[in-house]
């Protein structure tokens, strides 16, 4: 039986499913309800400098009939009094002593940091998360992502916090930066116990076509908000693995955040090196009940593979993520269409024809809608299999290797790479390309 419990930089929790610091963790009521539903931890909505919020606050990105495949907000940190939050932290810990309650904090001066750390520790918080990520409102006041984008400032503040804190400290990073390793390293240098990422991405969710105002709209105006939800997951996962692979950061526990909704998402983040995950959008969309699907799925995954704890598979994908120059250039796959499954939509044909390498043909017999792969033209790009609406209809078949495995790096070492603009060794040289005029001759 899988044991989901974790010890994340000293913060113990019955499972790795935590609620991120956000609207679902605005109150003791919500957090107790979440713990009751099965969540193992919660990062309290950021406490700190007093703020006032606007109305409206959230925007959704719908794709076709899927609601909120992306989500953004222009809400600020907690607008409740610190006293109320502290009182409720104490109460939650009374009912749920073994669950993780982490206090997210955001203040300005060293004095304020020291004061608020003492307050939340006294209330019983198991850990502290430093909000250096909020990309709207707070950054205009020199906090949030304004700190996360300045590694030196970040390192200094982490240093202040580490000097004051008795409980473990997690530094939460903003993705609104060109290289996530810079703030990651700064946090480690400042002495942080753990890192969490990503915070939200600066975004405009859409424009009202009648009023020309952005969503979410506040009296005809809007501002860049923080983007999250399923759409940001690939960006977040890359940042997580960047830190997990960095030799000076990899020893620091990482809490993965960004678009997590299902057990599959959780497993992926753990495979990339995260040892706790934080969820917000999915809980805002479906409520706390979604955790039961994550829980059951993660357990089955672990049981089927004989993993006893999440540490048994944490980071297992990292060795497989290499630099492009280390990829095997003799490896080749070719698309294969299963005619028994094909429904004849011909999306693969037009995708390859217009968007890739003209390696799929359709029959001149109108009764036969099943396209065929022109194997010699196929570069194995995957596009056809990605657009195919039928499960497992187009598969990418590995071809017998004609030459021994070789990487760009090795080719470079042996001087066997194309070097001039018209070098005949260019990879696409000799590959089939239709005559340009054939496009309009039909």
């Amino acid at each position: 039986m899988a044991d989901l419990s974790i010890n994340f930089a000293g913060i113990k929790a019955p499972n790795p499913f935590w609620l991120a610091s956000a609207p679902p963790t605005n109150s003791g009521y919500q957090i107790m309800k979440a713990f009751d539903a099965g969540w193992g931890g919660a990062v309290w909505k950021t406490m700190g400098v007093p703020i006032i919020n606007v109305s409206s606050r959230y925007g959704g990105l719908n794709y076709r009939d899927t609601r909120m495949s992306g989500f953004n907000n222009i809400e600020l940190i907690s607008d409740r009094t610190l006293a109320d939050n502290l009182k409720e932290i104490e109460e939650v810990k009374k009912y749920f002593p073994h669950h993780a309650v982490i206090a997210s904090l955001m203040v300005e001066s060293r004095k304020e940091w020291e004061q608020i750390i003492r307050d939340v520790e006294n209330a019983g918080a198991d850990g502290i998360e430093l909000n250096f990520g909020c990309p709207h409102g707070m950054c205009e006041r020199g906090m949030g992502s304004a700190v996360g984008q300045e590694p030196e400032v970040l390192e200094t503040i982490v240093g202040w916090v580490m000097a004051a804190a008795k409980v473990p400290v997690i530094t939460k990073l903003t993705p609104n930066i060109s290289n996530i390793e810079d703030p990651g390293l700064a946090a480690v240098k400042g002495g942080t116990n753990a890192i969490s990422l990503i915070n939200t991405i600066k975004s405009i969710m859409g424009i009202d076509l009648d009023t020309f105002a952005p969503y979410p709209t506040v009296d005809g105006k809007g501002t860049n908000g923080g983007y999250c939800g399923p759409a940001v997951k690939p960006i977040a996962m890359n940042m997580v693995r960047q830190l997990a692979q960095h030799p000076d950061i990899s020893g620091t526990p990482i809490s993965g955040i960004g678009g997590i909704e299902t057990w599959r998402d959780v497993v992926e983040y753990i495979l990339l090196g995260a040892t706790s995950v934080q969820v917000c959008t999915a809980a805002m969309h479906y409520g706390f009940g979604i955790v039961r699907e994550m829980d059951k799925g993660l357990r089955r995954f672990m049981d089927e593979r004989g993993f006893e704890t999440i540490y048994d598979f944490a980071g297992k994908a990292l060795p497989n993520i290499v630099e492009w120059k280390e990829l095997n250039m003799s490896y080749k796959v070719v698309a294969s269409i299963n005619p028994a499954k094909c429904i004849g939509c011909q999306l693969c044909y037009i995708a390859c024809e217009d968007g890739a390498h003209q390696a799929i043909s359709v029959s001149s017999d109108p009764a036969n809608r099943i396209p065929s792969i022109i194997e010699e033209n196929c570069v194995g790009c995957n596009l056809c299999s990605l657009v195919c609406p039928v499960e497992a209809c187009i598969t990418m078949e590995k071809q017998p290797a004609k030459v021994a495995p070789v990487t760009w790096e090795q080719l470079t070492e042996t001087g066997n790479i194309p070097t001039t603009f018209n070098d005949p060794r260019a990879g696409g040289n000799g590959h089939y390309v239709p005559e340009p005029a054939a496009a309009i001759k039909r």
């Binding site: 004849g344 011909q346 609406p389």
Partner: protein, 461 residues
């Protein structure tokens, strides 16, 4: 003594006593979608390349495009796309046998996924522009030429619309008091309401300005001569005639009617239409299915659909037969009509003889006569062709099935002044076929009257 098939049966439907109860019994098979349904349904479209639904549509509507337009909130644009190919866009969305046309061709079927409800999406888009009276079309600049259209059915109206856009002055001559032809007069009420069919034609006429003269049957050579003198071309959208005679004993007694006549009366009398307890419908085509379904929905206790050949040989669509069965209709197959029995001048029953169909040949089984007692016989055994009327047009020729012979591209008849489309040409098909042929004929007329100006171009390959 011949045995009787009758037994005690409960009607599936209560006899409608009011317009409301009538509408309940004849609930629309393809009800108008709401915004959410249209949004969710349109999201499922795969936007196929060279989409099979488009090919399956006789008018070649760019279906993936209009569905995408609905999904992106461009519903008016969607209606425009539909009308671009088919002037009967709304009627076709409701009455087309989509199961065997666009929806039957939807690739989702191959994965056992429900096909996109194209008909209902088409109805959704077109109904919005009709109800909101969105102006989408303009009468073309006058070219000084006049065309007479005979018949305000789908073919005639489509022809009139297309010609109006091309700048012709069009007058439609309609024998009845309303337009739409069989869209209203010959279609089951659960497929389209009178108001829906009529409002689309009104919507088109408002914008395109063609004239329609009602109660203006063209029946004589003199009338035709007058049209020939006044108009540059004449389009025949005359359809086919009343129900053909069966030439059997008892056919003329009270309580024997034709299916087309029955449906027409029902459409306007609605709950006031007297339909007796026991009904026999003769025939195996879609009109027979409709008449049987309608009788059952009017509260008839026993409705027999009697066809002289086997179930498999029926011309009607299987889903129409299933619909009739679900309304409580019973199928009687391999039953050939012998005689209509009468009592006191009224129909009392139908005597049949059993048949065997082998290799398409039908033979009667000796001593197998049987009777179905009934109070109403509906003949759905085909309509007479308008042979007498058509013989008034010099040079016009008919094929062996008495359909008007036309050029399959221009729909020009063998009398070059006359063009034709719809049932009179195809022998009796769907509204969508009439709509297509009327439109094509308009282009044929335009080509014929301007051929010295430009070569013929068809807007659909």
């Amino acid at each position: 003594m011949v045995k009787s098939l009758n037994s005690d049966l409960m009607a599936e439907y209560k006899r409608p006593q009011s317009e409301e109860e009538f509408q309940q019994n004849f609930k629309q098979k393809k009800p108008l979608m709401n915004q959410t349904e249209a949004f969710v349904e349109s999201a499922r479209c795969l936007f196929c390349y060279d989409a099979p639904c488009v090919k399956a549509c006789p008018t070649h509507i760019d279906i993936p495009l209009f569905i995408k337009q609905i999904h992106t909130g461009n519903t008016i644009g969607a209606a425009e796309t539909i009308y671009d190919s088919n002037w009967m866009g709304n009627a076709c969305g409701k009455v087309c046998p989509t199961q065997v046309l666009c929806e039957g061709a939807c690739v989702h079927n191959h994965a056992h996924v429900k096909p996109i409800e194209i008909g209902r999406l088409q109805n959704f888009a077109t109904r919005q522009v009709i109800d909101q009276e969105k102006s989408l079309f303009h009468k073309g600049a006058s070219n000084g030429k006049k065309v007479a259209v005979i018949g305000a059915g789908p073919a005639g109206i489509s022809c009139a619309c297309e010609l109006s856009v091309l700048g012709y002055e069009v007058t439609v001559f309609e024998a009845l008091e309303r337009p739409s032809g069989l869209t209203v007069y010959g279609t089951a009420p659960y497929k389209i309401t009178n108001e829906e069919a009529l409002s689309e034609i009104d919507y088109l006429q408002q914008q395109l300005g063609f004239k329609v003269q009602y109660n203006s049957a063209i029946t004589t050579r003199e009338q035709l001569q007058s049209l020939e003198n006044q108009y540059d071309a004449i389009f025949l959208g005359v359809g086919i005639g009343p129900t053909a005679s069966l030439n059997v004993k008892g056919e003329d007694v009270k309580g024997v009617t034709g299916a087309v006549e029955f449906i027409r009366e029902l459409r306007f009398k609605k709950h006031n239409m007297p339909v007796p307890r026991r009904v026999v419908v003769l025939g195996g085509g879609n009109t027979a299915m409709d008449a049987a379904s309608e009788s059952a929905r009017m509260g008839a206790e026993q409705v027999f659909l009697a066809y002289r050949r086997s179930k498999e040989e029926m011309g009607g669509y299987s889903f129409e037969y299933d619909l009739a069965l679900s309304a409580g209709v019973q199928g009687v197959f391999n039953a050939s009509l012998r005689e209509i029995l009468e009592q006191d001048g009224y129909v009392a029953g139908v005597e049949f003889v059993k048949t065997v169909s082998q290799n398409g040949r039908l033979t009667e089984v000796p001593d197998s006569e049987f009777v179905i007692e009934c109070d109403l016989v509906i003949k759905a055994t085909g309509q007479a062709k308008m042979v007498d009327f058509l013989s008034l047009i010099p040079g016009l020729t008919l094929d062996s099935s008495r359909r008007i012979k036309v050029n399959t591209q221009t729909y020009q008849t063998e009398n070059p002044r006359y063009f034709a489309g719809g049932d009179a040409v195809n022998g009796g098909a769907e509204v969508v076929n009439g709509a297509y042929e009327g439109k094509m004929a308009a282009q044929g007329i335009h080509h014929s009257l301007t051929s010295h100006l430009s070569p013929l171009t068809s807007n659909h390959g």
